[in-house]
C-alpha cells in the first residue's frame, strides 16, 4: 500500500518537482502513473523507493513511514518492492539465472530455495529456455522479462514499473503489460509509470495523471488523455 499525503519535493538547486501530491494505492490495485516528461513521475518513484526523501508531507509504503525510516531499514523496504526499469538494469556479466537468483541471495535465501524458485519464475515469464544466456544475448523484450522475473522472485507486495515498454516494440509491449496484469490478478499491487497512450487506454485501469508536479486527475478506468474526458 502506498499513501502519499500532501507531499512536496524541492531539490537542492531549488527545482520544485512535486507540489502537494495526495495519492493512495491500496494492496492488490493496478494503477498507471502518467504525465509528460518533467512532470514529476520519476521523482514520485524515487520518493516511493526511498532514493530521495520528501521536503514536506508524509509517505507510507508497505508499512514503512519514509519520514522516519532509518538507513538500515531501507533495504527491508526495497525488498517489499519489485522495481522494473526502462533500461532493464541487468548485470551483464551474470547469466539470466544469476541475475534473478541474485535478488534472492540479497534477502538471504538458501541455495535450495533459490534452485526451487528461480526456474519457476523464469518459466512464468517464458524464459525457462534462456537461463544460461547473458542479458546482452537477449532481445529487448526478453531482457525486460528477466527484469520482471527479478522483480517477482522475492514475492514482493508491489511491482513498480518505470516506463517498462520504453525500449521494446509494440507487440512485446502488449505482451509485457498482459504479464503485469496477470501478476496483479495473482494479488500483487502493480504501479506502472508510462506515457504510452495506447497501452493505458487499452487496459482501462486506474490512471493517475500528474503535470508540473501536481495531481491533475485520478480516475478508475481512465484514459491517458484525461483532459479530453
Amino acid at each position: 500500500m502506498i499513501s502519499m499525503t500532501n507531499v512536496y519535493k524541492a531539490y537542492e538547486n531549488g527545482t520544485k518537482a512535486v507540489k502537494g501530491i495526495d495519492i493512495r494505492i491500496e494492496d492488490g490495485e493496478f494503477a498507471f502513473l502518467v504525465g509528460p516528461s518533467g512532470s514529476g513521475k520519476s521523482t514520485i518513484l524515487k520518493l516511493i523507493t526511498g532514493e530521495i526523501f520528501c521536503t514536506e508531507g508524509s509517505i507510507l509504503v508497505n508499512g514503512f513511514d519514509l519520514n522516519k525510516i532509518k538507513p538500515s531499514q531501507l533495504p527491508k523496504l526495497r525488498r517489499t518492492l519489485g522495481v522494473i526499469f526502462q533500461d532493464f538494469r541487468l548485470i551483464d556479466k551474470k547469466s539470466v539465472y544469476e541475475n534473478v537468483a541474485f535478488a534472492m541471495r540479497v534477502v538471504g535465501a538458501s541455495n535450495r530455495e533459490i534452485k526451487k524458485r528461480v526456474p519457476y519464475v523464469l518459466d512464468l515469464v517464458g524464459l525457462d529456455t534462456r537461463t544460461r544466456r547473458k542479458p546482452s544475448e537477449l532481445s529487448g523484450g526478453e531482457q525486460q522479462r528477466v527484469a520482471i522475473a527479478r522483480a517477482l522472485v522475492n514475492n514482493p507486495k508491489m511491482i513498480i514499473a518505470d516506463e517498462p515498454t520504453g525500449n521494446i516494440d509494440p507487440a512485446r509491449s502488449l505482451e509485457l503489460m498482459m504479464l503485469l496484469q496477470k501478476i496483479n490478478e495473482l494479488g500483487t499491487t502493480v504501479l506502472v509509470v508510462t506515457h504510452e497512450k495506447e497501452l493505458v487506454d487499452r487496459f482501462s485501469q486506474r490512471v493517475i495523471a500528474i503535470d508540473g508536479g501536481r495531481l491533475i486527475s485520478d480516475k478508475m478506468g481512465g484514459y491517458y488523455k484525461y483532459e479530453e474526458e
Binding site: 533495504p75 527491508k76 548485470i91
Partner: protein
C-alpha cells in the same frame, strides 16, 4: 555470517578478479611495485643499521690494569668488569699479547722492535651493548679498584649514533610516505574498477541489498589482490636483493661490508609484506566503494 553467504562472497570476489582482468592486473601490479619500492628502502635501512652495529662492535673500550696488581689480582678483575651493566664481552689481554699485536700492526716500522713489552700494561678489551651509554660505562669502569685508566672513543661512538639515528628516521619517514602513497594509488585503482561497477551497485541497492552484502565481495576481492600482489612482490624482492648482495659482495671496494642474508629476515619480511598487502587491498576497496553506497 551464514556459511553459504561466505562462499558466495568469496566466489563473487574471485569471479570479479577474472571479469575485470585488466583492472585486477593493474591493482596487483601497483601493490607489487609499491611494496618493492618500500621493501627496498626498508632493506637498505636494515642493512645500514646492521653495518653500523657491526662497526660499533669494533669500537672497543680498553681498561688498563694497575701495574701494582699481581697477575692473579689482575685476572680477578674480570668478574667486576662483567658486572658493569653495558659490557657485552670482555677479553683479558696481557702486556705481552698486546705488544705482539702492536708489532704485528706496525711490522714495517723497525723503530718499535727495540721497545719491550714493559712499556705496555695488562688490559681488558670490551665491547658494549649500547655505545650511546659509553660515557657512563667508562665512568663505571674507572670506579673499579685496580683499573688505572680507560680508553673509550666517545667522539666516534657519538658519530655512529648520529648516523644510525639519521638513517633510521629517514627510512621510517620514507616507508610511511610510500605506504600512504600506496594506499592512495590502490584506492584510485579500485575507484576506477568500482566506477565501472557503480551501476551494478545501484542495482544491488535497488533489490534490497544491505551495504555489508555489497561490501563483502569487494573486501574479499581487495584482500585477494592485496595478498597476491604482496606475495609476488615478496618473491621478486627476494630475487632482486639476493642478486644485488651477490654483486656487491664480489666488489673489492665493498668487501669489508657484511650484508644481511635475506633468509635471516625472510619471515618478518613475509609478515610485513602480507600485512601491508592486506591493509592496502582491503583499505583501498572500502575507501573506493564508500561513495557508491549512499543510494
Amino acid at each position: 555470517m551464514k556459511r553459504n553467504r561466505i562462499g558466495y562472497f568469496i566466489k563473487e570476489g574471485v569471479s570479479s578478479i577474472f571479469t575485470h582482468g585488466f583492472m585486477s592486473f593493474a591493482s596487483i601490479f601497483i601493490i607489487m611495485a609499491c611494496l618493492i619500492i618500500m621493501g627496498s628502502f626498508s632493506l637498505l635501512a636494515v642493512n645500514m643499521e646492521y653495518i653500523i652495529r657491526n662497526m660499533e662492535k669494533q669500537n672497543q673500550v680498553v681498561a688498563f690494569v694497575d701495574e701494582s696488581l699481581t697477575p692473579e689480582q689482575a685476572q680477578a678483575l674480570e668478574s667486576d668488569i662483567k658486572a658493569v651493566p653495558n659490557v657485552a664481552s670482555v677479553r683479558y689481554v696481557t702486556r705481552e699479547e698486546a705488544y705482539e699485536s702492536f708489532l704485528d700492526q706496525y711490522k714495517d716500522i723497525k723503530l718499535f722492535e727495540d721497545v719491550g713489552s714493559s712499556i705496555l700494561r695488562d688490559r681488558y678489551v670490551m665491547t658494549l651493548h649500547d655505545i650511546e651509554q659509553m660515557a657512563q660505562t667508562r665512568d663505571d669502569l674507572r670506579a673499579i679498584y685496580g683499573i688505572a685508566g680507560v680508553n673509550a672513543h666517545l667522539e666516534i661512538a657519538k658519530g655512529f649514533v648520529t648516523v644510525r639515528n639519521i638513517v633510521g628516521a629517514v627510512s621510517i619517514s620514507l616507508v610511511v610516505i610510500l605506504l600512504i602513497v600506496s594506499v592512495f594509488i590502490m584506492s584510485n585503482t579500485v575507484k576506477l574498477t568500482t566506477f565501472n561497477r557503480r551501476e551494478e551497485i545501484a542495482i544491488m541497492k535497488m533489490v534490497g541489498a544491505t551495504n555489508s552484502f555489497i561490501r563483502w565481495p569487494f573486501v574479499f576481492e581487495g584482500m585477494m589482490l592485496g595478498v597476491l600482489g604482496s606475495l609476488l612482490a615478496y618473491l621478486l624482492q627476494w630475487g632482486l636483493y639476493s642478486f644485488a648482495v651477490d654483486r656487491m659482495s664480489r666488489s673489492v671496494a665493498l668487501s669489508f661490508i657484511t650484508f644481511l642474508k635475506y633468509e635471516v629476515i625472510a619471515i618478518p619480511m613475509l609478515i610485513v609484506f602480507a600485512g601491508i598487502g592486506l591493509l592496502v587491498g582491503i583499505g583501498g576497496s572500502l575507501f573506493a566503494i564508500k561513495n557508491y553506497l549512499k543510494v
